[in-house]
């Protein structure tokens, strides 16, 4: 079981990941969609909720432009209050090294210590205005590579 810190840009804050996705969907498929992007840090280790909050607020989240949510034992935390939208969730397959995760893990461990047992990230795109087929296309032709990524698509 692990903690989940999910971070999303505050409302009306410029979010480059969403903007990029919307542009690329328009570029490739000539379709307009709205999107929000969330990144989840899955943290494995024996921590209390208080400690995880401190880690989030002091080390990971930018409180000026980002909101965050915490849950325990819920890798797949859906932010249904953010957008009533379809979701594409992407993470690296087990065994594939994500260098960004590795560096984050090494450096967090330097600060937090040996109690940090593992860390990986999950990327979630909330998308409005896309059909089921659109979502498949967006996932396979823009966001992910199924050689490397596990992809979950939920159509709303």
């Amino acid at each position: 079981m692990a903690w989940n810190i999910t971070i999303i840009s505050k409302d009306k804050i410029y979010d480059p990941n969403s903007i990029k996705l919307e542009r690329e969907v328009f570029d490739i498929f000539n379709k307009k969609v709205n999107s929000r992007y969330a990144i989840s840090y899955i943290i494995e280790g024996d921590f209390s909720e208080e400690e995880i909050k401190k880690i989030a607020e002091n080390l990971i989240v930018d409180p000026i432009i980002e909101d965050y949510f915490i849950s325990y034992g819920d890798e797949d935390m859906k932010l249904s209050n953010i957008m009533r939208a379809s979701r594409i969730t992407i993470k690296y397959k087990k065994g594939v090294l994500n260098p960004n995760d590795e560096i984050t893990f090494i450096n967090l461990k330097r600060i937090i210590g040996e109690r940090l047992k593992g860390l990986y990230t999950i990327h979630t795109y909330y998308i409005e205005g896309a059909s089921e087929k659109d979502l498949e296309n967006i996932a396979n032709k823009i966001l992910a590579n199924r050689l490397l990524h596990e992809v979950k698509i939920e159509h709303d």
């Binding site: 542009r23 690329e24 570029d27 490739i28 498929f29 065994g95 594939v96 090294l97 994500n98 260098p99 590795e102 560096i103 032709k141 823009i142 590579n145 199924r146 050689l147 490397l148």
Partner: protein, 785 residues
């Protein structure tokens, strides 16, 4: 518990051999399998899976370059290897004393000054990019940086040459399983920026080309230049030296990468080659670079006796090649792994990134371990050099592989290949009626993806880091104009510089020999245009299936062009690479990429303060053209725009070209040239436009003054004849300049003007009258994501 499979291969039938080939995914030919069977029969031994995978990797096209080494029947000729007969032969004949190491190490090495040498390498990473554009390009950059580190040099500049499908292709025309070219372009550029910027190596030179032939097989050429004190180059392992793997952990990524790179793709490749995608870690690479350079420099001599990159084929290739004249003992149980359940053969052939192999004399071990510890670089002591002529591979105490180095490197049965002499097609003269006005044609040519501004990509790269970049990719008043070459000042206590340029145009591939000569001429003239001289070349071939006699024939002709070009220009090849089987099978037909040869030119400039940029400098200055314009619009941007297939491919007259280049260099050295730009795609018209854009100035020229036998205006404007320059000379210097240019074709054709427009007159009429704003708008509009 380790798992090693053994095979009684000496008793296998041909059918059994082929089945084994499929099961283990070895990608070996039947002749190669039979040779291996014969070897094991003679030795009365069984083969382990690790040994078979070693053959698969070392004997792959990617690592062994079989096509370039094989005997080829070409018409009435019998060619004893393309490499030996053409590429390397030129280098041997030229025999330059300043070529210190050619074709025998991770990178080519040439002299810079009496203290330092320059290392250069250009790699291709095509097949991985086809599977995942970001990871492929990312690890391509990482790999070439490690090639430079693999000769002990500090990487100081990188280059990238990229080939993509058309941006306006519809989704229906992109085969299943492949990305739209727009996505491929974006991911590749993001990757190059991400890797280079994080490691702190500036990306200073490059090119981008679009053609429908690259939709399923995009090409990524990654290049790097490094610098090394001459006294610090070492490659002398001895028996007793310890063997270490340094850097990241070893995992399953990249397994069979080398044999995958030698195979053609299909829409289901992604399902088969899942492990051939490698993921890069530039932060790890930066730590390795810092650690290795400390190990090189901190003591009287380098602490290591050998260093090499772990690239294609992983440990299998690196260990066997590094110690092929000696031998060694390896214990794979010492390798730090990402996954606990890896079989020995997987550890052996893994292509996990950011790893190097070094050998270290025992007395230096403690010192080098201290450095790696301080830099946070992982180290695994995995073996020892022996004088045994074999590589003995263990997992703890158990033998998992016993490799005979003599058979491994000399036992491969090279195929005898057959090449067809290609007929030159589409060379017929095309005659169009002249138009009254070519302004719109010029604007449309400027917006062609192969010519248009690459600022969108360039601005994502850091081309300043390291404070060595003198001439950058974008030049001129607003930093918008294109540069012909990059100039780097590698040493902080010397004004001497390196000039880096490239040449190549697949549109000329209907005449592969002329294409090769043109590529060499273009690379050299881009170098000369900035003041470069004493030039060395690198060749990089990306081609289709060499088993197709016609494709092989084109390759032979291109290689011939390389030999003739190198000799004619007195410019030796110092390194090269080939990437073959860039073919897509859709079940019904095969689609090959256009034959693609890229030439990199590395020159020297004695004083970087004299380097010249392409942008016009001052109104009132004179504009000259140097060089003769021929009827050579075959494969031109203008004809592509008009949808015309025909016309003569530009050729090269090397003697005349050399005379021009010598004079240009002299003029630059004397400070007579204010701006210089070569004429290439789009011809004179585009060259003038680009100089106006860079200088944010206008120009007025007279087409009738251009040295040529042509009468049709469009031919003079847009012909892509080689060996030509547009040059700006300040008022008061024209006499000295013209005196220097005597003996070559040249003419004063006009003036730089302060009005923001390009005016080209002919027969006293304006045939081009393009505003600077329009030229900039069209030129920048294509790659504006």
């Amino acid at each position: 518990m380790i798992s090693v499979k053994v095979f009684k291969i000496s008793s296998y039938s041909d059918e059994d051999l082929l089945r084994l080939n499929d099961e283990l995914d070895l990608n070996l030919s039947l002749d190669e399998l039979r040779a291996i069977k014969k070897f094991y029969s003679e030795k009365s031994r069984q083969a382990t899976d690790l040994e078979l995978h070693t053959f698969s990797q070392v004997w792959s096209e990617h690592c062994f370059h079989k096509t370039f080494k094989s005997r080829i029947k070409f018409g009435n000729e019998e060619i004893d290897g393309i490499f030996k007969t053409y590429i390397f032969k030129a280098t041997k004949e030229l025999n330059k004393s300043w070529c210190l190491n050619t074709f025998s190490d991770n990178a080519g090495i040439i002299e810079f000054d009496d203290r330092y040498a320059i290392a250069v390498k250009v790699e291709t990473h095509n097949h991985p990019t086809a599977l995942d554009p970001f990871c492929g390009a990312h690890t391509g950059m990482g790999g070439v940086y490690r090639d430079i580190l693999g000769v002990g040099a500090r990487p100081i500049a990188s280059m990238d040459y990229l080939f993509f499908g058309p941006l306006d292709i519809t989704n229906e025309h992109v085969p299943h399983g492949f990305y739209h070219p727009k996505i491929t372009v974006k991911r590749v550029v993001e990757a190059i920026a991400d890797y280079g910027n994080k490691v702190g190596i500036p990306t200073v030179n490059g090119s981008m080309f679009f053609d429908v032939g690259y939709v399923t097989n995009p090409l990524v050429y990654a290049g790097c230049v490094g610098i090394i004190p001459k006294a610090r180059y070492i490659k002398q392992p001895k028996p007793g030296d310890l063997i270490l793997v340094i850097g990241g952990k070893t995992g399953r990524d990249g397994i069979h990468g080398a044999s995958f790179a030698s195979a053609s793709l299909s829409g289901v490749s992604s399902e088969i080659y899942y492990s051939a995608v490698q993921v890069g870690n530039p932060i790890e690479e930066k730590k390795i670079i810092d650690a290795i350079l400390r190990a090189r420099d901190e003591y009287e001599k380098p602490l290591y006796s050998l260093i090499t990159d772990l690239g294609g084929g992983g440990l299998a290739v690196a260990v066997c090649e590094s110690f092929k004249d000696l031998g060694c003992r390896i214990d794979l149980s010492s390798v730090q792994l990402k996954h606990s359940n890896m079989a020995p053969w997987e550890i052996w052939v893994s292509e996990s990134q950011e790893r190097m192999l070094i050998s270290v004399p025992k007395e230096n071990l403690e010192k080098i371990l201290e450095i790696f510890e301080e830099e946070g670089v992982g180290v695994n002591l995995i073996g020892e050099v022996e004088k045994s002529n074999r590589v003995s591979v263990y997992f703890k105490e158990e033998v998992v592989g016993d490799i005979d180095l003599n058979f491994l490197f000399k036992g491969i049965p090279l195929p005898r290949m057959k090449a067809e002499i290609p007929k030159l097609t589409n060379q017929e003269e095309v005659l169009l009626e002249d138009e009254e006005d070519y302004t719109q044609s010029l604007l449309e040519v400027l917006s062609h993806p192969n010519i248009s501004s690459k600022e969108w990509a360039i601005r994502q790269y850091d081309h300043e880091v390291g404070a060595r970049t003198i001439l950058k990719p974008l030049q001129g008043v607003n930093g918008e104009g294109p540069g012909d070459a990059a100039v780097i000042k590698p040493l902080y206590d010397s004004w001497k510089g390196i000039v880096i340029s490239n040449g190549g145009n697949p549109n000329y591939s209907s005449d592969p020999y002329a294409m090769a000569l043109s590529a060499i001429d273009e690379a050299i003239r881009n170098n000369v245009s900035c003041g470069g001289r004493r030039i060395a070349l690198l060749d990089n071939f990306s081609w289709g299936d060499p088993n197709d006699p016609l494709e092989l024939g084109k390759l032979v002709l291109a290689a011939k062009g390389c030999y003739d070009g190198a000799i004619a220009f007195d410019a030796p090849f110092i390194s090269g690479k080939d990437s073959l089987y860039n073919v897509y099978h859709d079940g019904k037909k095969s689609i090959s990429i256009p034959p693609t040869l890229m030439i990199t030119a590395i020159g020297i400039i004695p004083d970087v303060r004299k380097s010249v940029t392409t942008d016009f400098k001052r109104s009132g200055n004179y504009i000259y053209i140097i060089g003769f314009t021929y009827d050579e619009l075959g494969g031109s941007a203008f004809f592509k725009l008009k949808g015309i297939n025909g016309g003569k491919i530009p050729t090269v007259y090397p003697e005349r070209a050399r005379q021009i280049y010598d004079r240009i260099i002299k003029a630059i050295d004397r400070g007579l040239i204010k701006a210089c730009h070569d004429c290439s795609e789009g011809g004179i018209a585009v060259a003038l436009a680009e100089m106006c854009i860079g200088g944010y100035l206008g120009a007025e020229v007279n087409l009738d003054k251009i040295p040529t036998n042509l009468t049709r205006k469009y031919k003079i404007l847009f012909s892509e004849s080689n060996s030509r320059f547009i040059v700006e000379v300040a008022q008061g210097y024209e006499r000295e300049f013209e005196h220097l240019m005597r003996g070559v074709s040249y003419a004063k054709i006009g003036y730089v003007i302060s009005e923001k427009e390009l005016i080209i007159n002919s027969s006293k009429k304006k045939i081009v009258n393009a505003s600077l704003q329009d030229m900039i708008r069209y030129w920048k509009s294509t790659l504006a994501f």
